[in-house]
Symmetry: C2
């Protein structure tokens, strides 16, 4: 299967799962609408796809970990909503549509982000994945019901164990919070307009982008209970494609088409952001992204052909235009 078709298939799988998960409206409706607005704005679903593909490379059936993989997209979406806020990057446009706070106001945008982040951990900690049914525990509590079925979980007994799920939750929280993504965004915000610095730029890219991408790739390995050597290989791969992903993002902000990207370009330069092209120039940045992707592919040797789609995704990240 060519990589475009593969990505499309996986994206559709994730989208169907997320749509079925968020079918039943919760009160207040405006919060539910805001969550769906950002979640279904046409994201590439690259983080959940990486988790599914990595799980597949380890011999698993991707559908078995759809809830865990999809939780990554909730975290990514929350981070976009909060990053776009007026007090942060103050962006009006995202994926060709007005940003959440432009439609729903700042308060609901902040709360939609908070809700998505929390819901990710609800999704990750769902213990009834194996038994096909997702049920809310405290119905007695007269809280909102949210009985969503998970139609995509396959019927065979899953290999997934409680301890591996806990480990995944731990790693995702590590990658998303004060030791990962939030630290990256805080550093990014704090270093606007400051003198370009390689260490700070590296810190921002590693924490803001590579941390969650690495956790996504590792998720597939951890839930498969693979040997440490293979997990190490996945970690190397994740970190390198994560960095490359952000460098390509920086380049697209300069060279990309605003129409294709669905957001303003040139905003990094305008906001005096610390980026790879700003520090190293376009050519050197492109070379660095190339080298990282090449290293990422090399690091997967231990998987032989099982990791072919991970390799193809690495190349796709390098060549993407959106």
């Amino acid at each position: 299967m060519d990589i475009e078709t593969y990505l499309k298939e996986k994206r559709e799988l994730i989208d169907s799962f997320l749509k079925s998960y968020f079918t039943i409206p919760t009160e207040p409706t405006i919060l539910h609408e805001a969550i769906k607005y950002s979640l279904f704005a046409g994201g590439k679903r690259i983080r959940p796809i990486l988790a599914l593909t990595s799980y597949e490379a380890c011999g698993g059936e991707p559908k078995d970990i759809l809830p865990h993989a999809s939780a990554l997209e909730l975290i990514h979406t929350y981070s976009l909503i909060h990053d776009d806020l007026p007090s942060m990057d103050n962006d009006d446009l995202r994926r060709g549509k007005p940003t959440s706070h432009k439609i729903f106001g700042e308060a609901i945008a902040i709360l939609a982000g908070d809700a998505l982040l929390t819901e990710a951990f609800l999704m990750l900690s769902n213990m009834e994945v194996q038994s096909l049914k997702f049920k809310v525990q405290n119905e007695k509590f007269k809280m909102q019901k949210c009985e969503n079925s998970f139609p995509y979980i396959s019927h065979h007994v899953s290999r997934i164990t409680y301890d591996t799920i806990l480990r995944v939750i731990h790693e995702v929280a590590l990658a998303a919070g004060v030791h990962g993504m939030v630290a990256g965004q805080a550093m990014d915000i704090s270093s606007d307009n400051s003198k370009p610095d390689k260490d700070i730029l590296n810190f921002i890219h590693l924490h803001k982008t590579a941390a969650l991408i690495t956790a996504s790739v590792r998720m597939g390995g951890i839930l498969s209970n693979i040997e440490e050597k293979k997990l190490k290989a996945l970690t190397e791969y994740g970190k390198k494609i994560g960095l490359a992903f952000q460098i390509v993002d920086d380049i697209l902000d300069i060279e990309g088409s605003a129409e294709v990207l669905g957001k303003k370009t040139g905003s990094d330069i305008k906001m005096n952001k610390m980026t790879y092209p700003a520090l190293y120039g376009i050519e050197e940045s492109r070379q660095e992204a190339n080298d990282l992707i090449s290293d990422a592919i090399d690091s997967l040797q231990i998987f032989y052909s099982d990791a072919d789609y991970l390799r193809k995704i690495a190349l796709y990240i390098l060549k993407r235009r959106v």
Copy 2:
């Protein structure tokens, strides 16, 4: 032991744990400072205390669940930071000190909240509680190290199992997110200035306050693996003290001393908030709080004297002035 001394002892236990947990600074420093600023602003620690006391009522050693209980305080603190933001309740003062965004700016305040929420799930999913040591998994990843020791976990083998921890994570996420606290805050924000309505008021109080308080009480029971009948009793107790807690809060906003409370009073009326006193008057609200606390105490009969401190906490909630 009288209840004041009991609460003080437990509060000190939680504070020591949290202080040791956040000892090692993370980058960027401003984010770490913002987290500590709000977390150590003199909170009552009522949610973690409820979890410890409920665990004790079920025969457990409270110190064993310190990380899980303390995670509740991170969630509560994040919710205060976000609720105080200019686009939400726009509060300048909290616990007698300027609110987070007044000191650190809106962007860092939002990120500090995001970080605290995420860190709560990191704390909850820590699998090495039993082995005394908390270690970061992806050191290879060259992310920030955060090796904090958990000095308060007792040495005996804990009864806590992976599946009960997962269940707790699930319930906390349910109580904190779009099915609980965030829904309550969104409804609160959306119904400012609208016609007082009993159902909406009940929705706000149940979701915004009672949900997380109920989850706190249930945490002690779930981690103890107690029988369903006892868990049901804890749930009833939690829900009722949770509602009473919010009604007392509403009354204090009218009758309390701004100096003692450390925040502006009268802001509910000024912002035309839907509150118990606004809908039922002060006297009826006081009676409702009394009845709820009395019911809460009654619901604990199955525990005999084991739940005496839970009963005393219920009475304390009714009589609190701060």
